[in-house]
């Protein structure tokens, strides 16, 4: 177990190094540099060159790379020229919103997919199963952004049940009960829209997993020794079928990252995805590279988490 985990963590190191190189290349390819946004246009170009020289912008690339990585380790992600403040501070404000959006989406995803998957697998080929299968079939083909737009149109504008933008109602004091409720209220529609689409894979997987397990010998044994139908399902089948779902948890994080970019943009939700799109449109590149770096690390960690859970669940992987 430990051997596998250690080896898996070792694989992660080159991945993070490669990611940082890729992000660095992106940063270097971006037109202009941090300075062209930072200084006042009246300063004469020669002085600008001097500042660039002092800040090390003319150094060979590997020295610049080392400087940048050193900065990142100390929590220095550079300055945002749009907000005129450190990138870490801006991301700190936004990441909380994205974090709660992701948590809410995951909660909804499992709340929807597990009951649906179980029903569909237990009563396979029944009318109910067919309805659930058609939902997954259509859900699989529907792009998230179209679905989110339709949800916003129907529940936000036509029915007016949910707010159509923002993460909290204006004028509320942070920390109060109303503030928290308003936050949750703003979360429901985006999280639910995203969950209804991301849930599809889990439902399909759980369904086929249960149908497979149903025919195994140990289930026959359980029935033969007189276990009740509900005990067979809840104790014997579910325990076997739910574990792989737990292992997908880390990969869900990678999926969420793409999803938040669309959902936050459509629902006007001030999170990292929206920050990313705004910054790239306004050419605030230090923010852009930082967001890509952070999300890249998040997906690397997500995959690590999944592999570790999978190795706990399935001993065959540990041996390899």
């Amino acid at each position: 177990m430990w051997k596998f985990t250690v080896r898996r963590i070792l694989i992660m190191i080159p991945q993070i190094i490669l990611l940082s190189v890729l992000v660095f290349i992106m940063a270097k390819m971006m037109p202009g540099d941090a300075l062209s946004g930072m200084v006042d246009p009246n300063v004469d170009p020669e002085r600008l060159d001097e500042i660039r020289e002092n800040l090390g912008w003319n150094d060979p690339w590997h020295i610049q790379y080392a400087d940048w990585v050193g900065g990142v380790f100390q929590g220095d992600l550079g300055q945002s020229f749009r907000f005129k403040m450190p990138v870490t501070e801006i991301i700190g404000q936004r990441i909380v919103n994205t974090f709660w959006l992701s948590v809410a989406t995951l909660v909804f995803t499992y709340l929807i997919s597990i009951p649906l998957g179980i029903t569909s697998g237990r009563y396979n080929d029944s009318l109910l199963d067919q309805a659930i299968t058609s939902y997954t079939y259509i859900g699989f083909a529907t792009p998230l952004f179209i679905f989110a737009l339709v949800m916003l149109w129907v529940f936000g504008f036509m029915l007016g049940w949910f707010p159509t933008s923002g993460s909290v109602a204006p004028g509320l004091e942070p920390g109060t009960f109303e503030y928290v409720m308003s936050k949750i209220y703003h979360l429901i529609l985006p999280a639910f829209s995203m969950a209804l689409i991301t849930t599809v894979n889990t439902v399909q997987y759980l369904r086929s997993e249960i149908i497979d397990t149903k025919q195994k010998d140990f289930i026959l044994t359980a029935r033969a020794k007189g276990a009740s139908e509900s005990r067979v399902y809840n104790r014997h089948i579910l325990r076997n079928s739910l574990l792989p779902i737990a292992a997908f948890f880390g990969f869900e994080i990678t999926g969420l990252i793409g999803g938040t970019v669309f959902v936050e943009n459509i629902f006007g939700y001030p999170g990292m995805g929206q920050l990313f799109l705004e910054s790239i449109t306004l050419r605030d590149y230090s923010v852009v590279t930082s967001v890509v770096l952070l999300f890249g690390i998040a997906s690397i960690l997500g995959a690590l988490l999944s592999d570790i859970i999978l190795s706990l669940v399935d001993p065959r992987i540990r041996i390899k």
């Binding site: 490669l18 990611l19 890729l22 083909a141 792009p143 952004f145 504008f157 970019v261 669309f262």
Partner: protein
């Protein structure tokens, strides 16, 4: 599987690949309808866009801004007074074209990469799979958006190259695992004993045996790629506005006024994307069943 040599045909007539696929399609009415729908829409869209002039359609006409559907404009106009129906046709053509282009490019790269990794195995496979894992782990959407934003000369070709650069991994992984199984088979060993070169075995002997898998995967990928392209165009990082795609029409709906009151701008494009993706998937699933004798209905 479906490949036939002259010899086997003389011994017993096994059904050809096409007749198996055809039988499967006829059995699965939904897939057949989907295929007919796809053929019709492709012919219609490419045919009509020969007559339509793209520059004419994207020209701003300030006298007919936001016209609802009516006699002059079948599906109304957008904020620049441009005909939605024309944009829909050109958009579908552009979305289909780039979807097909990206699918073919990722297919070629993925098949070669997967074949080499799977066929040689061992250390080569190990290194190639680590590289693949890295690409797989990247936040696809963000990386593509950044490259779209910073590439100096942005065109449809560079857009599809950027998409290809971060989309070849899925098919490569699939082909690699199939090639790993395939190289253990007797015909590969026999061919090796006869002294065939590795390149010859890979591309003239293993490749034909996995074509069915490639075709199925590429069909399903086509649906996904059209979705991705329209998603990127929706966010404003796909086609430029002068070359409308289905996603461009949807991006007008980010304006709350358009979303709430001007359904004719974005609803037809949404329905069209949905139908296209469902139809391609239906055909893909039928092809998948045709390649697997255990799942066939016909």
């Amino acid at each position: 599987m479906e490949t036939k040599s002259n010899e086997t045909q003389q011994i017993a007539k096994s059904p050809s690949g096409f007749s198996i696929i055809w039988r499967e399609l006829v059995r699965d009415k939904l897939a057949l309808i989907s295929l007919i729908f796809l053929i019709l829409i492709t012919v219609f869209v490419y045919g009509v866009s020969l007559i339509l002039d793209q520059d004419e359609i994207v020209r701003v006409d300030l006298f007919s801004i936001h016209e609802p559907p009516g006699e002059e404009f079948i599906l109304g106009t957008d904020y620049g007074g441009r005909d939605i129906f024309g944009q829909l046709i050109i958009g579908t053509r552009n979305s289909l074209s780039i979807g097909i282009l990206v699918t073919i490019m990722t297919g070629v790269i993925g098949v070669i990469y997967g074949l080499v990794a799977g066929y040689f195995g061992g250390q080569i496979d190990n290194i190639m799979m680590r590289i693949l894992d890295f690409f797989l782990i990247l936040p696809f959407l963000m990386v593509v958006i950044v490259f779209v934003a910073i590439v100096p000369t942005y065109s449809v070709l560079s857009f599809s190259l950027i998409m290809t650069a971060f989309l070849w991994m899925g098919i490569a992984r699939l082909i690699r695992s199939k090639a790993l199984q395939e190289k253990e088979l007797d015909y590969v060993q026999a061919s090796k004993t006869l002294g065939s070169s590795n390149v010859k075995i890979m591309f003239t002997q293993v490749l034909p045996n996995i074509t069915s898998l490639i075709i199925v995967t590429m069909t399903l990928n086509l649906a996904a790629n059209i979705g991705l392209e329209s998603g990127l165009s929706f966010l404003g990082f796909g086609f430029p506005e002068s070359t409308p795609s289905l996603g461009t029409l949807l991006s007008y709906a980010t304006n709350p006024q358009t979303l709430e009151y001007r359904w004719w701008i974005w609803v037809p494009a949404s329905i069209l994307i949905l139908l296209l993706m469902l139809a391609i998937r239906n055909v893909g699933e039928a092809l998948k069943r045709a390649t697997d004798a255990r799942q066939r209905r016909g």
